[in-house]
């Protein structure tokens, strides 16, 4: 089995009787700040590793989104065709999908481009800028941008929301620990503010 950042801590954990929760985290159109904040859970990551196995994550170098995921935290808005495809795989293969951070929840900074059309955007940033990049339409090397950046829940059904840019570790822990207990995510008012 692939060893992941979280599983490294397993040696220090008590052997768990119950099967571990299959946890995934994914990264769509975001800055990775939400994942950084997730890592800021610090020693709570050890606690997490005792009950959960990280089966997919940008910090774990796993290429395919696996089957039978219990909980998936999704950072980032849906901005290109690869994001759409991954979002659909995540939905099909996960029991609980969580919009993780403002970009996934609202579109946030990623969606600032929505006031421009895709062509306008690429022209202003690249064609009229210092260099040109492949549009990705023909060769699919660079994923094609979709017309409008969308919050995750406008692409797939989402079960819980963790607002924040990034959500601070306390929020993440409040949400994740509820999910691990099989309870719905209910954040207090001070934990659900955007921004």
């Amino acid at each position: 089995m692939r060893r992941t950042t979280l599983q490294v801590h397993e040696s220090s954990a008590k052997p768990a009787g119950a099967p571990k929760i299959r946890l995934a985290t994914a990264w769509l159109g975001g800055c990775s700040g939400c994942h950084m904040s997730f890592l800021d859970l610090d020693e709570r990551l050890i606690e997490l590793a005792e009950v959960a196995e990280l089966v997919y994550s940008p910090i774990a170098d796993i290429k395919e989104f696996p089957e039978n995921v219990d909980v998936c935290l999704v950072e980032g808005a849906v901005a290109n065709v690869d994001h759409v495809k991954l979002a659909q795989e995540i939905r099909a293969r996960s029991k609980v999908v969580v919009s993780f951070g403002d970009c996934a929840v609202t579109g946030n900074v990623t969606s600032l481009r929505n006031r421009l059309g895709v062509d306008d955007l690429l022209n202003q940033v690249y064609q009229n800028g210092p260099g040109s990049v492949p549009r990705g339409e023909g060769d699919e090397v660079v994923p094609r941008l979709i017309e409008r950046v969308l919050p995750l829940h406008q692409v797939i059904q989402v079960d819980a929301f963790i607002p924040g840019c990034p959500p601070d570790p306390e929020r993440i822990w409040a949400a994740v620990s509820a999910l691990l207990r099989g309870e719905p995510v209910v954040l207090s008012a001070d934990m659900r503010r955007f921004g």
């Binding site: 919009s99 403002d102 929840v105 609202t106 579109g107 946030n108 900074v109 969606s111 600032l112 929505n114 006031r115 409008r148 919050p151 829940h153 406008q154 989402v158 929301f161 607002p163 840019c165 954040l187 008012a189 001070d190 659900r192 503010r193 955007f194 921004g195």
Partner: protein, 240 residues
């Protein structure tokens, strides 16, 4: 002054005739979400966040512009009210471009705070993402239409307190805009006295000080009380 008796959330309360329902609810210590209302300004009844249920009336009534009446039976918190208040907030977020993470008012915004307290953890409507300008022509202040919720606090404070009446609302519905003077850049307004009152009362990041960056803007409305106490009660001293 005549007294009326009404029922609020199953309790009998008395109030002065002519008081607004919102004023009475606040005296009772009830937390009613508001956005267009601001103590010291005339009421507008525009944001609809302060909606309450009044028995015998199928429509929900905005408490800030509803006078108390003898025998009124009022409910201030119910699933139905939370549902509508949340819908109103979601529509406000969907209508313009609210990106709290990069907003001058992040952390101190009344719209953001209302959304958090009511439990609006996402917006179910499509974002309109309108292409809106910023007016940065004024020496000291900026108007960012992307964050404006058309509460008209700026219009009222400039007219009623400062007496300059720089601001007005142009257009209808989703095309409404706050305009300076005869729809010209704020910096070219001949009526603006640069007092900054509109900036201080704006509940969102729409009006802010020039040069303020993310989460830097702080606003104060205390001046309204000082000015009005002076005007109305001839009371000029205040313990700050």
């Amino acid at each position: 002054m005549s007294v009326v008796t009404l029922t609020v959330n199953d309790e009998l309360v008395s109030a002065q005739a002519g008081q607004s329902l919102l004023a009475v609810l606040k005296e009772l210590g009830l937390e009613i979400p508001t956005l267009c209302h601001l103590e010291g300004l005339s009421e507008r009844g525009g944001c609809r966040l302060c909606l309450v249920e009044v028995e015998g009336n199928n429509k929900l009534l905005p408490a800030c512009v509803t006078p108390v009446q003898e025998g009124m039976v009022v409910t201030t918190h119910s699933d139905r009210l939370v549902k509508y208040r949340r819908m109103i907030l979601e529509l406000l977020f969907a209508e313009r471009n609210h990106v709290c993470a990069v907003c001058v008012m992040n952390g101190r915004c009344e719209l953001q705070a209302n959304a958090a307290s009511i439990g609006m953890d996402h917006v179910r409507y499509d974002y309109l993402s309108p292409d809106l300008p910023m007016d940065a022509s004024h020496d000291r202040f900026v108007l960012d239409h992307n964050r404006c919720i058309l509460c008209t606090r700026c219009v009222r404070v400039c007219d009623e307190i400062e007496g300059a009446h720089v601001w007005d609302v142009m257009g209808r519905g989703v095309n409404s805009r706050i305009i300076a003077d005869l729809n010209q850049p704020w910096g070219t307004s001949t009526s603006c006295t640069n007092c900054g009152k509109c900036v201080q009362v704006c509940p969102t990041g729409a009006l802010h000080a020039r040069g303020a960056t993310v989460a830097e803007m702080e606003k104060q409305h205390d001046f309204l009380r000082w000015i009005l106490d002076g005007r109305e009660k001839k009371q000029w001293e205040h313990n700050r």
